[in-house]
């Protein structure tokens, strides 16, 4: 994880708070505010990859067995994967916290 913003003084940010290393949001946990999360019944998964292709945030990764895992650090819980999944193996459940 990159440096915690809440510990940095105003002098430590660069000119106009520009981001000089694009794509660095991967270094931060951006899924904290998710209210629902996707879970998969992998017995129903046909390894088609539609969830992987439709995720707008790149938060679904290919697993070693050919199925797919969710990256909960970055998943925002939008539910597109659950809607698009052909076999209905993905469902959205309430976050407990």
């Amino acid at each position: 994880m990159a440096k915690n913003f809440s510990e940095m003084t105003w002098k430590e940010f660069g000119l106009a708070f520009m981001v000089t290393n694009p794509g660095c949001s991967a270094e931060y946990r951006t899924g904290d505010w998710r209210s629902q999360k996707p879970i998969a019944d992998k017995d129903k998964c046909i390894k088609c990859g539609v969830c992987y292709l439709s995720c707008p945030d790149g938060a679904i990764n290919l697993a070693a067995d050919g199925t797919y895992d969710f990256d909960y650090d970055h998943c925002k819980g939008c539910g597109i994967c659950a809607t698009e999944c052909w076999t209905g193996c993905i469902s959205m459940v309430e976050e407990e916290n």
């Binding site: 105003w10 002098k11 106009a16 708070f17 520009m18």
Partner: protein
């Protein structure tokens, strides 16, 4: 002595922009600024200025284009007035927050309503807190010189902030004055090409204008405020260098015959010329101990310089050209009261509003204001502000 050329002030400003060799101009015509960008469009069309002239459908778009071109590393210029400035409002805040050194001429004009195309400072005052550096010119020569200096100030890596150069609409924009121009060689020796510290460039990508979550926003605003306050040192440095090179020296507050004065007038913009004539008459013919301060730098406010200049002064009469409706002071008068409140032996501050919507402020008006301010000082009259020249 260099040759002086009689030319409309708007065209002199266009010439300064051309000499600054800007890369991009985006503007929408609005009175009384129109002649400036109209002439620039001719210069570009004629091939005399190698720049992109981007005509847009509104001032909101003009300032948005300026954000884009400046972010891409182009030296960027625009000009506007009044309602046009008001329409830019949203983007005016973005430009300094992104630290983009856009230079804009403001041909100051009152805001509607009633509809008025004539001069006062209500347009600038409505965008006072957007975070731009604000500089006032009193005549055409100052407008020409300050336009050139503004690019150097804005693009200094210690500054990286936009500047609006204020000229009174019609009173300056549409009059023909003698100007002493600089040659391209002279300008090039003073103003280097823009070297952006960061820019939108596919070879070295950056993200500008990111979201400021609560953990960051406050720090971003602190950094921006410090940048504006600290720009004053660079402004003074550039004024100094320009003076040494070309013989015309500028100060953040100009002082006119203020030695031995007990009462000072304080003005911004072209009415300072009339005020100087009033001061001459009062000093030379009436033996009054008066003088004049002309506030050149409005933002960042030169608080230290002001405190120094009013030391030992009994009465300070501040003349505003705008109203802060329902407030405790006129914009400049209130600011000056605030700046002096914590100082010892501060002068009595009489706050006047004059010349709204193109109403002339005459020599007699200035003499009346001096006399009134001195009477108010004697009586220690408690007041917020008084309107001078309005029919009661």
């Amino acid at each position: 002595m260099a040759k002086k050329i009689g030319i409309e002030v708007s065209l002199a400003i266009s010439e300064a922009v051309k000499l600054a060799d800007v890369d991009a101009i985006a503007a929408y015509p609005i009175t009384p600024q129109t002649h400036i960008v109209e002439h620039l469009s001719e210069l570009v069309a004629d091939g005399d200025l190698n720049a992109e002239f981007i005509p847009v459908e509104s001032e909101h778009s003009a300032m948005s284009v300026c954000a884009g071109t400046s972010a891409a590393g182009a030296r960027t210029y625009t000009a506007t007035s009044s309602q046009g400035l008001a329409l830019m409002n949203e983007i005016l805040f973005i430009i300094p927050a992104l630290r983009l050194p856009v230079v804009m001429t403001l041909a100051n004009r009152s805001l509607s309503g009633p509809i008025s195309i004539w001069n006062d400072h209500s347009d600038l005052m409505s965008v006072r807190d957007t975070g731009w550096i604000s500089i006032f010119a009193e005549n055409g020569q100052e407008a020409f010189d300050l336009t050139l200096q503004s690019f150097k100030i804005a693009e200094d890596h210690r500054v990286m902030l936009p500047i609006n150069v204020n000229i009174d609409g019609f009173t300056l924009s549409h009059v023909i004055e003698p100007h002493e121009f600089l040659s391209q060689e002279e300008v090039d020796s003073f103003l280097p090409p823009y070297d952006p510290p960061l820019q939108l460039n596919p070879d070295k990508p950056v993200s500008m204008g990111m979201v400021g979550i609560p953990e960051i926003y406050f720090e971003a605003k602190k950094a921006q405020d410090v940048a504006l306050i600290e720009s004053k040192a660079v402004i003074k440095e550039v004024f100094q260098e320009f003076g040494e090179k070309f013989g015309r020296t500028y100060n953040v507050i100009e002082s006119y015959r203020a030695e031995d004065a007990e009462t000072l007038l304080l003005t911004m913009g072209s009415i300072g010329e009339t005020a100087m004539e009033a001061i001459d008459i009062m000093k030379d013919e009436q033996g009054k101990k008066v003088g004049l301060l002309r506030l050149r730098l409005w933002r960042p406010f030169p608080v230290d310089e002001l405190r120094e200049l009013v030391k030992g002064i009994k009465t300070l009469a501040v003349i505003d050209r705008a109203v802060s409706f329902g407030g405790t002071g006129a914009p400049v008068g209130g600011e000056i009261r605030s700046a002096l409140y914590s100082t010892e032996d501060r002068p009595y501050v009489a706050s006047f509003i004059a010349g709204l919507g193109g109403r002339d402020v005459t020599i007699k008006d200035f003499m009346d204001m001096v006399n009134l301010a001195e009477k108010m000082e004697t009586e220690q009259e408690v007041h917020e502000y008084k309107m001078i020249g309005v029919r009661e």
